[in-house]
C-alpha cells in the first residue's frame, strides 16, 4: 500500500525524518525538472528545489492536511522561481537567448545511448531540443509556468489554478494562449510547421 503524501507529512510533523526522506525521494526529480524549465539554470534549480524542501520541513510542525501536499510543494517552488526570475531581471543577467546550458551534456546521456551509432541523428535531436527549450523560455512567465505544469508535471487545471493562485477559467485561457504562442515560436525556429500553423 502506498502511503499518501499527506500521511507522510503528518508523520514528519511528529519528527519522523524517514517520512520526510520519502517525500524528498518522491518529488526530487520532478521538482528539479519543473524549476529548471522555469528558470533555465540547472544548478540554481537544484538550489531552489533544496530550499523548497527545507521550507516544507521548517513548516512541518504547523502542517494541516487541508489542501493537497503536491499543490503546496509546487506553490512554494513557483514562488521561489518567480523571485529568482525577478532578481535576475533586476540584476540584468537573465537574457534567455544567451543563456548557456551547462547541464546539457550531462543530462542527455540516456538518448545518447539510443543514438550513439547515428551521430547526425544525435546532433539533429539535440539541436531540436535546444530550439524547443529556447522557445519555451521566450513565453511570458505565467504561460510558461502553466504550460510546464500541464505538460511535464501532468497536473490538472484545478491543481494549476491552486498553484498559480487564479481561477480554472483563467488557467484554461492561459494554456490556450501558451500553446498558440509556443506554436508560433516553434514555427519561427523552423520546427513544428508541418501542420496548419493556426491553433
Amino acid at each position: 500500500m502506498i502511503v499518501s503524501d499527506e500521511e507522510l507529512m503528518l508523520e514528519c510533523r511528529k519528527g519522523d525524518m524517514s517520512a520526510f526522506e520519502l517525500l524528498v525521494r518522491r518529488y526530487q526529480d520532478a521538482l528539479v525538472n519543473y524549476i529548471y524549465y522555469t528558470i533555465n539554470d540547472y544548478h540554481r534549480a537544484e538550489d531552489l528545489a533544496q530550499e523548497t524542501f527545507l521550507r516544507v520541513f521548517k513548516s512541518a510542525s504547523r502542517y494541516e492536511p487541508k489542501a493537497s501536499f503536491k499543490s503546496w510543494l509546487y506553490t512554494i517552488a513557483t514562488n521561489l522561481s518567480r523571485n529568482e526570475i525577478r532578481n535576475r531581471a533586476r540584476r540584468n543577467t537573465y537574457f534567455l537567448e544567451d543563456m548557456v546550458d551547462e547541464s546539457e551534456d550531462v543530462y542527455q546521456s540516456e538518448f545518447m545511448i539510443d543514438t550513439r551509432y547515428q551521430p547526425d541523428l544525435l546532433y539533429e535531436k539535440k539541436e531540436r531540443q535546444q530550439l524547443i527549450k529556447k522557445a519555451l523560455k521566450q513565453l511570458p512567465e505565467n504561460q510558461r509556468l502553466a504550460l510546464t505544469l500541464v505538460t511535464y508535471q501532468e497536473m490538472s487545471y484545478e491543481e494549476i489554478a491552486e498553484i498559480l493562485n487564479c481561477s480554472i477559467g483563467a488557467i484554461k485561457s492561459l494554456i490556450h494562449r501558451a500553446r498558440q504562442n509556443m506554436k508560433k515560436l516553434l514555427i519561427k525556429a523552423g520546427i513544428g510547421g508541418g501542420v496548419n500553423a493556426k491553433i
Binding site: 525524518m17 526529480d29 528539479v32 524547443i132 505538460t151 487545471y157 520546427i191 501542420v195
Partner: protein, 175 residues
Amino acid sequence: MPKYKINECKNVQTQLAAYFDNEVPTWKRHLIRWHLKQCTDCSSRVEAIEQTDKLLRSVEPVKASDTFLSTVMSRATTMKVSQKIHQPLFNRLGCFVEGLQTWMRGNIRAYNLVYMFGLIFAVFTMIGVTLYSPRIEKLNPFTQFRSKSSEVQQERLISFEVILQEEPKRSLKIR
C-alpha cells in the same frame, strides 16, 4: 461560410486546449468531437496542438543530482537540531498552546455534541453569575458585616447635621 458556423468554430476553438487536456465535461466533449468530424479547420488546430505537445514532450527531462537527497537531509537535520537548541521559552510555550489547541480541536470533532453542551452550559453559567450576582450575595456570610458598617456611616452623617444646626444658637447666647 455562414455566420452561425463561424460563431460555432470560435466557441470550439477557445475550448480546444481544454479538450486536448481532457478538462471539459463529457457532454461538451461529445459536442466538440462531433464538430471536429465536420470541420477541417478546427480539426487541423487540434492536430497542431497535438504536434506542439509532442515536441515539448520530446525534450529529455533533467534529474536531481546524486548528492541532492543527502544534502537536503543533512541540512534538514542541522535545522532540526539548531531549532531545538535556540528555541526560546516563549516559543516552547507557544508550541505547547498550539498542541493543546489541536488536541482540543480534535476532541471537539470527535465528541461534538458533548463538548457543545459543556460549552453552552459554561457560557450560560458565566452570564448568570454576571447578571444575578446580588442574589448570591445573600448566601455570603460577610454581607451582614457590610450592611452594619453602612448603618454606622448613616448615623455619623446625621450627627454631623445636628452639630451644624446647633452652632448658630450658641453664638446668639454669647451676645
